[in-house]
């Protein structure tokens, strides 16, 4: 039975080959078979986690609390200097110039990405907007579709991962107006291992940290759009979980 590896479903489609290459690298590093299972959405992935079917995961920060506290996962590493930030965008021709110009009843376009949606709603608070007075459009499967819905007038405001926004084509960016961009820094994806692999954590960590030291390793990292890995200690995980706790369900 191979180890089961999965990646938070919010990764951009163009990174899929990169994760398969990383999976091959994981197999070589562990000296054992590893199967990469990708899930279409967060609920399906969470069901697999709940059923103890996952051994290694590159997780959304929102799921980290559940993985650490309920399932005993241990943080190994996170992307160095790369945090999850959200862009609050409207169509370029929208008269709003700042979040406070937005009004109740607006339609929100978003993906299923839980930390981006949470941070997006937080950035709408200065306009007295909350889940109680906005209309959430059905989630779309990618950030380009959020932008499309804004441009087509299907939605009034959209939550976009800043990293994804920065990689939009120039015409797509020109179709949008950014009202706010978060600068939180501490909310980051993280690579974790299940209790079944806890004793291999140090081996994995050292190998992951060394990836940025040579050309082959850097190619693997480039495929994931990660500059390098940074070690995650237990207290780093606890801090991020506390931070998410303070932000969720305020």
């Amino acid at each position: 039975m191979p180890w089961q590896f999965t990646v938070s479903p919010d990764f951009p489609p163009d990174q899929l080959p990169g994760w398969y290459v990383f999976n091959t690298w994981l197999q070589r590093t562990l000296g054992e078979p590893v199967h990469l299972e990708t899930y279409l959405d967060f609920p399906t992935q969470r069901a697999a986690i709940a059923a103890d079917q996952i051994d290694l995961i590159y997780a959304n920060p929102y799921d980290a609390a559940m993985l650490v506290r309920d399932k005993g996962f241990t943080g190994v590493a996170r992307p160095d200097g790369k945090s999850d930030e959200v862009v609050i965008a409207v169509a370029a021709n929208n008269p709003a110039t700042r979040v406070e110009d937005l009004r109740p009843g607006l339609r929100v376009a978003s993906t299923q990405d839980p930390d981006i949606n949470m941070m997006g709603m937080i950035l709408l608070e200065p306009a007295d907007l909350s889940d109680a007075n906005v209309v959430h459009q059905p989630c779309v499967s990618g950030y380009a579709l959020v932008a499309r819905d804004l441009a087509k007038g299907v939605a009034d405001v959209g939550f976009i991962l800043a990293d994804a926004y920065d990689r939009f084509s120039a015409p797509l960016r020109a179709s949008l107006k950014v009202l706010a961009r978060s600068q939180i820094h501490d909310v980051r994806h993280v690579f974790l291992v299940s209790p079944r692999l806890a004793e291999r954590r140090e081996t994995l960590l050292n190998a992951m940290l060394a990836l940025s030291n040579d050309a082959i390793g850097r190619d693997i990292l480039n495929g994931l759009h990660i500059p390098a890995w940074e070690a995650v200690e237990q207290e780093d995980m606890e801090f991020m979980i506390d931070l998410i706790d303070t932000l969720a369900e305020a």
Binding site: V99, E125, I184, D186, E238, D242, D245, T246, L247
Partner: protein, 157 residues
């Protein structure tokens, strides 16, 4: 965390002596200059169980007006504005002391005597069943909520 109350006037530009409930006091100049909360930021800090600051992020440093080395090791009431009623902080500590999350609107005092409003959330940091400190995150509040909170606090100070 030590509670404190204003012993002098809190008018604009007035020198004020703030007295903490442990008997210590300090002089501050309180002005009516508001510093707007920067868009997209979160102010993050952590304290030890006694309320002394152990960590803060750059947004905390920027908004407080202090240098980082003037903040670390200080009690969190360093930021307490005399317009804030003691009852609000009493409720905060009762809530987090009971292991629960607290949130509310807070007017903070800057080093230069000015102020800034935040919507604050505080959670106890529990490790192995023990509270080892508190994490606080402050975000930008709406003007409507600020005005409601200010009106309420005027009745409580």
């Amino acid at each position: 965390m030590h509670d404190m109350k204003a012993a002098g006037g809190a008018d604009s530009g007035n020198a004020t002596i703030l007295t903490y409930h442990d008997g210590s006091s300090r002089h501050v100049v309180v002005t009516e200059i508001e510093t707007p909360f920067p868009e997209g930021r979160l102010i993050v800090s952590r304290t030890d169980p006694a309320g002394f600051i152990t960590h803060c992020n750059p947004a905390f440093v920027e908004m407080s007006g202090y240098r980082l080395d003037e903040i670390i090791g200080q009690p969190h009431c360093l930021l307490r504005h005399p317009d804030m009623p003691a009852a609000a902080f009493k409720e905060l500590w009762q809530t987090v002391g009971g292991g629960k999350k607290w949130h509310g609107y807070v007017k903070n005092l800057r080093k230069d005597g000015g102020y800034y409003w935040v919507y604050a959330t505080v959670v106890p940091n529990v490790r192995d069943g023990r509270v080892v400190g508190y994490t606080s995150v402050r975000r930008k509040p709406s003007r409507t909520r600020i005005e409601e909170a200010a009106a309420l606090y005027r009745t409580l100070v």
